[in-house]
Amino acid sequence: MANIVEMPKLGFDMAEGTLAKWVKSENDQVEKGEVLAEIETDKATVEVESSFGGIVHKHLIAEGTAVPVGTPIAVVAEEGEQVDIDALVADAEESKTETKEKSENSTLPKKQPEPQKQEPPQDKMIKASPVAKRIAEEEGISLSSVKGTGPGGRIVKRDVEKALQTGASAKRANKPKATVKPGVDEQVPLSNLRKAIGSRMAESRQTVPHFFITSMYDVAELLKTRKQMNSGLPEDEHVSVNDFIIRAVALALRDYPNLNASLNGDQLTRHGDIHIGNAVAVENGLLTVVVRNADQKPLTQISAEANQMIQRVKAGKVRNEDIEGSTFTISNLGMYAVEDFVAIINPPEAAILAIGSAKETPVVVDGELDIGLRMKATISADHRITDGAEAAEFMQHLAQFLEQPWRLFA
């Protein structure tokens, strides 16, 4: 029997997906569970498995086409089967409108959909010496903006160096150290990721009544414990300060179910599992990788899992499960010499914890001035779910895990 494959919903906020690549061509055999296509969401590229076995009868959309979630993208049928695609699609549409109300705008695209506008091929066929290419790559200069003065117009090292000095070349927009030519405005279209972050954060800031509480923690013992641990671990298994914080927060959350919760309308869900999201900076945006059941995992496992996910994020190979399902989020800017900051709640979660830098600070111990190691953290919480007293208690409760790190191993 012929079946329709639809654009899957790969995240709770995913509205549409772009068909990046057909892994199975038309007339290919496909097993149930085999990868059929690669879908680019606004967060990542994800492999889509076929829910049916059979022959890929027809691709309904072309590579590069973006369609809403639920749109039919392919027909999988039995070998030799006669398929009335229009009827099949109509059936699928009908059964959907019966059961769901949301998919009104998921219409089948035209027979020959416009392929998405291709980025102009960058640096292709530009004559440049290997060293010029290498420097341009390292410095994030687009060779297309450099004038070549070598034989036959070849871009040579001196050209790239000159471009670097004068800053005349437009650096790639997605490089963090991108600069803008003085006096000239630059138009940069927002990436999908930026748009997604923008709408989520705007929604959160506008609809969630945030309140903030900042506490200071003595992290001398934590840093000492970390040093001891790492001296006994191979380099690639070193545990970060953030791994300690994930574990500490997860343990502290056990006693504060209101902060490990999400609100949908009038319904509060106190989650049975504690999944800690960690904001990770990526090119031109951020993603949240999720350490699942962090209250039940040893520190080294948390560290290994977080590391693997961060590597996948940086390599652009993030899996859907890496970034979905967090129940509480940590945003750590400690590595940037940040005293403290406030973060915007990642909806529909109840709270987010913003971590500053650990640093040497003058402290008073038993009436004496001393040098201590302190770290500030600020919780942003949803006032519809919780109040200042409860959040403050949580922050106090968190201290025993951050300041007495043996509790992380107890």
Binding site: S129, P130, V131, A132, K133, R134, G150, V156
Partner: protein, 324 residues
């Protein structure tokens, strides 16, 4: 330091090593009574005697072959070929025996032998006696090939060649015997297989050896007046080839010229350029230029001969070309 000629430097090296070690002896055409075709061994016969300074028949295969035998028997012969062009007559002994004996007999024999052979063109000796076939010999594993460009290097490398247990082809260039240079007065050796920066510069790496070292230094002086700072790297040894200073220099300059006196095809320049491409591709800023002899048998006519041989000006032009 004393300023002496290349000829004196080589002569001193031989003399000192013969004084130092009685196993060292010389054999070749006209090395004894005549004092050497290029007067390198003048006075040796009187001082060391006919046992150690042996005039031979005009039979290169015998000169090299008997030296190999002597080396296997524990002596340290220095076999002199009147010119490297005659090495072809002794080719089998050089590349099949000297170069392979140690390997073929599982290390039971060592061949502590030096073959001295002057080569190069520019003296109107015509096509068969004017060749620079250095690359041919550097092709064979098992043979060390040394070709110095300064008197100091010639002395230090020849003394080292005599002292080590491997067969060494020591190629001299007959046109530079009169060239002078500073040479340390103490007993010194220079390790074989080490290239050397003879002049520092930041713009172009000029790789060269033997007679072309002098030409390259002169080209570098001319180019410095134009504001181009050339780094001259002297190979000194063709096998084993030491790329380290070359790659280090190239990573700084990103441009290279290789100057050799021999023909371009399958030459030293081809080998060095290839290795730069392999080892430092990401540092390349311009195609590597080679300066070499025109691909003809070297003419006898003096003007044609000089036209066919690489000149200082050819090096200057090649450097300007890579600097474009």
């Amino acid at each position: 330091m004393a300023v002496i000629t290349m000829r004196e430097a080589i002569s001193q090296a031989l003399w000192e090593e013969m004084e130092r070690d009685e196993k060292v002896f010389i054999q070749g055409e006209e090395v004894g009574v005549w004092g050497g075709t290029y007067a390198v061994t003048k006075g040796f016969l009187d001082h060391f005697g006919a046992e150690r300074v042996r005039d031979t028949p005009i039979a290169e295969a015998a000169i090299v072959g008997s030296a190999i035998g002597a080396a296997m028997g524990g002596m340290r012969p220095v076999a002199e070929l009147m010119t490297i062009n005659f090495a072809f007559v002794a080719m089998d002994h050089i590349v099949n025996e000297a170069a392979k004996m140690h390997y073929m007999f599982g290390g039971q024999f060592k061949i502590p032998m030096v073959i001295r052979a002057p080569g190069g063109g520019g003296r109107q000796l015509a096509a068969t006696h004017s060749q620079t076939p250095d690359a041919i010999f550097a092709h064979f594993p098992g043979l060390k090939v040394v070709a110095p460009g300064t008197p100091a290097d010639a002395k230090g490398l020849l003394k080292e060649a005599i002292r080590i247990d491997d067969p060494v082809l020591f190629i001299e260039n007959a046109t530079v015997y009169q060239q002078k240079g500073e040479v340390p007065e103490d007993d010194f050796t220079i390790p074989i297989g080490k290239s050397k920066v003879q002049r520092e510069g930041s713009d172009v790496t000029l790789v060269t050896y033997s007679k072309m070292v002098d030409y390259s230094m002169r080209a570098a002086a001319t180019l410095a007046e134009e504001g181009i700072e050339v780094e001259v790297v002297d190979l000194r040894t063709l096998r084993p080839l030491d790329m380290e200073p070359i790659i280090a220099s190239f990573k700084k300059t990103n441009r290279a010229v290789i100057a050799e006196e021999g023909w371009r095809s399958y030459g030293v320049g081809a080998e060095v350029a290839s290795r730069i491409y392999e080892q430092a591709f990401d540092y390349l800023d311009a195609p590597i230029q080679r300066v070499a002899q025109k691909e003809v048998p070297l003419p006898y006519n003096a003007r044609l001969e000089q036209l066919a041989l690489p000149q200082v000006d050819d090096i200057v032009k090649a450097v300007r070309e890579v600097m474009r």
